[in-house]
């Protein structure tokens, strides 16, 4: 071993200090439990008159794969929060949101969720992606904090989450609620429309990431159940410099229409290559691709391409849109209305509960959103109705927000077609039709 040179940082001192402080910190905490513990795990409750601020946590995609979508979500969330505060706030307190970056990485998400719940004392988490929820499922159950998220479409969550229609009984709850329509449902809408349009054979090109695959799986199961046939399916990597080889292979097969399920940048590369190659045929776009950027970059060859998007046709979309456009100019995307809904329904749950704790929120999300009460479109209306002793049914911007037993929502699906250089809504598959594709109890 080298000699203890005084110029070196004294290793022994470092270890002693680190170890000693750790032990000192923990020494006061060992025992057999049972007495009143020193934990202050509830959400910011202060004196007997109620809390002054109530905090929600937002694990966000501030960096990483989906970071270009976050500004819309942040703006939607903030718009909802300011509207709620203008109406007096839940329980008269000021609502605020702490936003922390997870980089869409499950390890980071775990640390962020812990920090939000234990250090920032949030009563609910508004956010988290499929790629974060799925591997952290057990952890989230242990965390016992409601996760009301506008992001995940994954079929994994179809039968997981929610309160199992027993709001007062928390022991069977699974804590995760989705305000966005699941992939299973809106891809069924898209597939149904494809069959209506007479596209009986299909080609598919999709990326090898979870969201893209999940979209295709959902689409194909409804499509094939309806009698359609898949002629060829090609899976590709994301971010490639050219998709010509994949397209060349795909278009050797014979089909009427082809489904494109790729993240936006790769999709633009692929569709530009498709346009250059003059392959033709009817493009069907996944929901993330019905954006202006795609038309701008791919050009006129995309005329007539359509995609099915959920979440723009809730009963109170206009209320949301008015508030959103005043709050800034971030691009709206398909997850922005569900983010608004998530905040609204959580705030209403707090209001109905009369207290701001995670368990109370969990017990009240179902009752404020399911049918059978006065329909309300904003927090202000809900607060008033609750003060009158009525039950409420929040109807949202993306969907009517009637949570199923597994914490999922149904909504209608709008068909957007590229016409004259922009996407316009040309059709709709109603929620009732969409519901037919999903088995009872499986969603």
């Amino acid at each position: 071993m080298s000699s203890d040179n005084t110029a070196h940082v004294n290793r022994r001192a470092f270890l002693t200090i680190a170890g000693g402080s750790g032990i000192a910190g923990l020494s006061g905490c060992v025992g057999f439990g049972g007495e009143g513990d020193g934990n202050g795990g509830s959400g910011g409750s202060g004196g007997s008159s109620g809390p002054e601020t109530i905090t929600l946590g937002q694990p966000g995609a501030l960096s990483g794969q989906w970071d270009f979508l976050q500004p819309g979500i942040s703006q939607g969330t903030d718009a909802a929060v300011s509207q709620i505060n203008e109406a007096g706030g839940p329980l008269g307190a000021e609502l605020e949101v702490v936003r922390r970056d997870t980089a869409v990485d499950p390890q980071e998400a775990r640390t962020v969720a812990t920090q939000l719940v234990e250090n920032d004392d949030v009563v609910a988490l508004i956010g988290l992606f499929s790629s974060e929820i799925n591997p952290l499922w057990d952890f989230l159950q242990d965390l016992s904090t409601p996760v009301v998220t506008p992001w995940p479409g994954s079929t994994f969550l179809d039968t997981r989450g929610g309160d199992k229609r027993t709001p007062t009984d928390i022991s069977d709850d699974e804590w995760v609620w989705r305000t966005v329509v699941g992939d299973t449902v809106h891809t069924s809408g898209s597939a149904a429309f494809a069959m209506e349009e007479g596209h009986e054979t299909l080609g598919v090109i999709n990326g090898n990431t979870e969201g893209e695959r999940s979209y295709v799986e959902g689409f194909l199961s409804a499509y094939e159940a309806n009698g359609g046939t898949v002629a060829e399916r090609v899976e590709v990597e994301l971010g490639a410099s050219s998709y010509q080889s994949a397209l060349s292979r795909l278009f050797e097969a014979d089909f009427d229409a082809f489904l494109v399920s790729l993240p936006q940048e790769s999709a633009i590369t692929a569709l530009s290559d498709w346009s250059d190659g003059d392959y033709g045929r009817q493009p069907i776009l996944s929901d993330t691709l019905t954006s202006q950027a795609v038309i701008d970059q791919v050009g006129s060859d995309l005329e007539g391409a359509w995609g099915a998007t959920p979440g723009q046709s809730g009963p109170n979309y206009d209320t949301f849109e008015a508030a959103y456009s005043e709050a800034g100019d971030a691009d709206m995307n398909a997850w922005t209305p569900p983010a608004w809904d998530a905040v609204q329904v959580t705030a209403l749950a707090i209001e109905r509960a009369g207290e701001a704790t995670p368990e109370a929120v969990q017990r009240n999300i179902g009752p404020v959103s399911r049918s059978g009460g006065t329909k309300v479109s904003t927090f202000a209306e809900g607060k008033e109705a609750l003060a009158n002793g009525e039950e409420i049914n929040y109807e949202g911007a993306a969907t009517p927000v009637n949570f199923t037993q597994h914490g999922n929502v149904f909504g209608s699906v709008s068909i957007n077609t590229a016409q004259n250089g922009e996407f316009t809504q040309t059709g709709e598959v109603s929620a009732a039709d969409v519901r037919e594709f999903v088995e009872e109890g499986e969603y």
Partner: protein, 347 residues
């Protein structure tokens, strides 16, 4: 003689003692109704601490490969992943996609470690003869290939969703949240300390001298009759096995594995920790790892006091991490506690 004099020191015995002690205390919490109270604000620190001791096994393995033998392994996360996936696939019950065989977890853990060692053997058999930076490229490419395989063969490995439903032994026995966290930290920390003891013992023996001789000048070592290939292979495989153990423990702690947990970020973090602390000094590399993970943890709290928006903050943190690596190599290549002369980087 007083009791203190009788405590063996050096050769990793202190670490062994501390490791067994932690393991036993942790076991006490797991198996008895003894409980701990932990103020909620410390939860995140303990969780990062658990991740630290798991990554600690990774950095010890890497130190054995690079610090002592001079093998530049830039695909270390691959062995971590193999150990984790191996353990997960063998023990998972009711996974959503992919294979889950439901065998008992000790068996699965053993298989995970062996699998990682076998992959390490394969990689070393093919590449051990390559020059330093070439070995880095090959190991990096191997990690990328494995990542690709895990993502693409959905039916086997679960694709992006990963393998879920892996049993969590400690969580199953302890239901109180505070105690569970502390017990996990103590048990895993104990294992890491025992690992530290093992590695220290290995490298302070004449075995370690040969490894360091290979790092300093392989030609000379070969000329005195040592089969350098054998030594290098062994060091590489031991390092891979340690990483596999870390992976298996991670799977059993988290209850699930997914490709998102095994990115190049892990390799970069472990490398920076090793270089920052001082390669070839086992305790130093653990300290260096604690510094880099500590910086990341503390900087999360800094978010509330800095005037920049959080997305800017996230990018700034990564810029700082990159610059730390550059600065360490330029100004303190032996790391904070390393011995410049021994590492051959004194100028």
């Amino acid at each position: 003689m007083s009791a203190l004099d009788r405590i063996p020191s050096g050769n990793g015995d202190l670490a062994l003692l501390a490791g067994v002690f932690c393991f036993l205390i942790g076991g006490l919490f797991v198996l008895t109704p003894l409980q701990v109270q932990l103020p909620n604000m410390f939860y995140v620190f303990v969780e990062v601490g658990i991740l630290f001791v798991i990554y600690g096994l990774l950095v010890l393995g890497l130190d054995l490969q690079y610090g002592h033998t001079g093998l530049v392994n830039f695909g270390h996360v691959a062995f971590f992943a193999v150990g984790a996936y191996g353990t997960a696939m063998l023990s998972a019950q009711d996974t959503f996609v992919g294979i889950g065989l439901g065998y008992p977890w000790p068996l699965a853990l053993g298989v995970g470690v062996v699998a990682a060692a076998v992959v390490g053997l394969g990689v070393s058999a093919t590449s051990i003869r390559l020059r330093g930076d070439f070995l880095a490229i090959v190991t990096l490419a191997t990690a990328e290939i494995l990542h690709s395989i895990f993502v693409n063969f959905e039916g086997v490995f679960g694709g992006n969703v990963g393998i879920l439903g892996v049993p969590r032994p400690i969580a199953a026995l302890v239901s109180q949240a505070d105690t569970r966290l502390i017990a996990t930290l103590l048990v895993l920390g104990g294992i890491t300390l025992v690992g530290l003891a093992g590695v220290t013992r290995l490298t302070s023996a004449p075995y370690g001298r040969v490894l360091r001789a290979i790092r300093a000048d392989e030609l000379v070592t070969r000329s005195v009759g040592k089969s350098t290939v054998t030594y290098k292979t062994q060091a590489f495989v031991y390092g891979a096995a340690l990483a596999g153990l870390a992976g298996g423990l991670f799977a059993l702690y988290n209850g699930a594995v997914a490709p998102g947990f095994f990115t190049i970020q892990v390799t970069v973090t472990v490398w920076i920790g090793m270089l920052l602390g001082g390669a070839a000094n086992h305790r130093a590399v653990l300290a260096g790892l604690s510094i880099i993970m500590g910086i990341r943890l503390v900087s999360r709290f800094a978010l509330t006091v800095t005037p920049v928006p959080s997305d800017v903050f996230a990018s700034i943190r990564l810029v700082v991490v990159g610059l730390i690596l550059v600065a360490v190599i330029r100004y303190r290549p032996a790391g904070i506690w390393g011995d410049a002369q021994e590492l051959g980087v004194d100028r």
